[in-house]
């Protein structure tokens, strides 16, 4: 066993070195081979590391960066899977890189983003100290089966770590109910009634049906999607009290938000250094996680005001009159990005880039559940509307049926030409790419105007 571990570590480190010499990321592949040699490698490497693992449909990366910022500021020795390689092979690679040849980790802590589908294997081996589930929405169904299946996976994964503290979204019935029948300690985060303007129930909603009895939920208020004050008139299942609760959104701008958060009974004014409503949720999740890891509330509050944008998530680039990249991958996230755009007062150009590779989800039907109709209200302020990506034609078709003139939509698949055009635009450009489209466009932007490689 011991020999196998050492051999697996050597192979993994060597493959990573070769990848980097060839200017590749080498984020997942080395771990994949290491796990073939020693399938339980992660459990050996994670033994002496206190880990917080973050999973859920939306907000994994941003929440991870927020938590990471707290570790950084507190001067803790930690590592994270920043590259976004969040399946068991990529996570294993990160653990190996931070370990000695004998498998002893150089860090005391780890902040790990984990894909929902990978949670069963990862949690069981990693035995995290804290598990954060941000929310559950429909997402990449071709990969996961369906949402019920995804939820079952996470539930099973949690079942293998009874000692972990769970940080769960109180407002998401599919998430908060993960604590049912579990012995784990739970901290809930959420947004209380009156903090945000009440929304109408979305036409397409994922958490409508009571997870316990199958009856339809009623809602005292809705923040967005199915997140809000749900209760079941049949069996009484309802939103749990949040331990970390956003009680007021004092101010929102295109730079960030000022909010009031009740943190386990203490009221704090918190600045979130990223705009948009969904990042307020990410902030609440990060606060719960930071405190669950044993740091104090000040560390959490300071981290939120100081951290920088995640990779492709509201990331800004100094190109032309300025560009901002906002990753989109499912209807709820995409609707929230468009809601953010509706608050932009100046004229802007918009690029929507739709790919259907493995990292994006091969099924692009989600664009028909997304309310691109709300963009038509902004059409007076949109200077150019550009579609790009492998499925640009399908995106253009969606926009046609949303109410745009198909002849006014520009198709540009070539990233070089796209970036060349962005350089000459005299107004800000917002880019809404799916995951692999983000990588493609970002790479070209970085080549032209600087920025870090994706694994940095």
């Amino acid at each position: 066993m011991k020999l196998k571990v050492v051999f697996a570590i050597i192979v993994c480190k060597a493959l990573r070195l070769v990848s980097r010499l060839m200017h590749r990321g080498g984020t997942a592949m080395p771990g994949r081979y290491a796990l073939k040699i020693c399938p339980q490698l992660l459990s050996v490497l994670a033994k002496n590391v206190q880990t917080v693992v973050i999973t859920g449909t939306n907000g994994k990366t941003t929440c991870s960066r927020m938590v990471e910022e707290a570790f950084e500021r507190e001067g803790k020795k930690y590592f994270s899977n920043r590259s976004g390689a969040n399946l068991i092979d990529g996570i294993t690679t990160e653990f190996v890189i931070n370990s000695s040849l004998s498998g002893k980790n150089r860090c005391d802590y780890a902040v790990i983003e984990c894909d929902e589908a990978a949670s069963v294997r990862v949690f069981a081996q990693m035995q995290p100290k804290v598990i954060v589930v941000t929310n559950l929405f429909r997402d990449q169904l071709d990969r996961f089966g369906d949402l019920a299946h995804t939820r079952d996976s996470i539930k099973k994964a949690i079942g293998s770590v009874p000692t972990a503290t769970l940080c769960l979204n109180a407002d998401c019935s599919l998430t908060s109910s993960l604590a049912d029948d579990m012995p784990n300690r739970v901290l809930y985060f959420g947004m209380n009634r009156g903090a945000a303007p009440n929304k109408e129930k979305a036409e397409i909603s994922d958490g409508d049906i009571c997870i316990r009895c199958g009856h339809e939920y009623e809602f005292e208020y809705i923040n967005f999607g199915h997140l809000g004050g749900f209760f079941c008139p049949n069996c009484g299942h309802r939103r749990p009290e949040a331990d970390f609760a956003v009680v007021d959104i004092a101010h929102q701008s295109t730079e960030g938000s000022s909010i009031v958060m009740d943190m386990q009974g203490e009221r704090r004014m918190v600045t979130v250094n990223l705009p948009a409503m969904y990042n307020i949720y990410n902030a609440a999740a990060a606060c719960a996680a930071v405190c669950a890891m044993g740091m104090d509330k000040d560390a959490a509050v300071q981290a939120l005001s100081g951290f920088k944008c995640g990779f492709g998530r509201m990331e800004q680039f100094d190109i032309g009159a300025g560009a901002r990249m906002m990753l989109v991958k499912n209807p709820t996230g995409c609707n929230l990005v468009m809601e953010f755009l509706s608050n932009i007062k100046e004229r802007f150009s918009l690029v929507i880039s739709l790919n259907d590779r493995t990292g994006d989800g091969k099924d692009i039907s989600w664009i028909w559940d997304t309310d691109f109709e709300q963009l038509t209200a902004l059409s007076g302020r949109i200077k150019s509307l550009v579609v790009s990506g492998d499925r640009a034609e399908e995106m253009r078709l969606r926009l046609k049926y949303a109410g745009f003139d198909e002849n006014a939509i520009v198709t540009e698949r070539d990233c070089e030409k796209l970036v060349e055009w962005m350089k000459g635009e005299d107004c800000p450009v917002f880019i809404m790419p799916t995951y692999s489209a983000m990588l493609d466009i970002r790479q070209v932007i970085v080549k032209h105007c600087g920025g870090s490689e994706f694994w940095e």
């Binding site: 559940d369 034609e393 399908e394 078709l397």
Partner: protein, 242 residues
Amino acid sequence: MELKICHLYGDVLNLYGDRGNIITMKKRLEWRGIDCAVEKINPGQTASLAGCDLIFIGGGMEFDTRLIADDLRAGRAAELKAAVEDGVSLLAICSGYQLLGRYCQDGKGVKTPMAGVLDMYTVCGKERMTGNYKFVLGEKSGGYEVVGFENHQGKSYLSEGVEPLGKVLCGHGNNGEDGGEGARYKNLFGTYSYGPILPKNAKLCDHILLTALERKYGLKELEALNDRAENEAFAAINARLG
């Protein structure tokens, strides 16, 4: 002219992009000056299907189907059957299509009785059938090629008397064995092409709309539209499927 569309079980069976079919039907009617009213009927609601010209049933998640089975038993099955026999147009997709059969059998071998509108049954297969796929419609349904995305574990088998909607050109279709895709009976169109089948298959959309308009108004033909964006979206994925 006006078509009344019923989106049956719309709050439960709406898995991924089914709304695209409603949007497409509505727009393509409106662009021709034909009014369109869409009404949702959910499980447990007693609203009648009488007076509706076209019924749409989408796909759903596994944990929602028990609600549907109960509702079918409570009388909706008989009503659906009568409507189809009467020539009402019906488009049913994925689990909406499965529920029109006699029964569905899950992975543990448990059979749940379904609507029995179609002489067909569905059993849970071992592997999920997922991906872009292509089929050619039967002559009766226009004979066009259709591209879609399938994602199902259920394998459906039609009885002798029921025609498939089309023949699989690449992908799996009903069961991955007999080459059949979907079902066509009177003005019923069943398919495994889940989610938004109609937007980039505009000809199929018009064909279905016309069955309803012919029944109601005796219309034989639809005014042509500029379908450049539709045809290019079709061509892009069709080229990839080869």
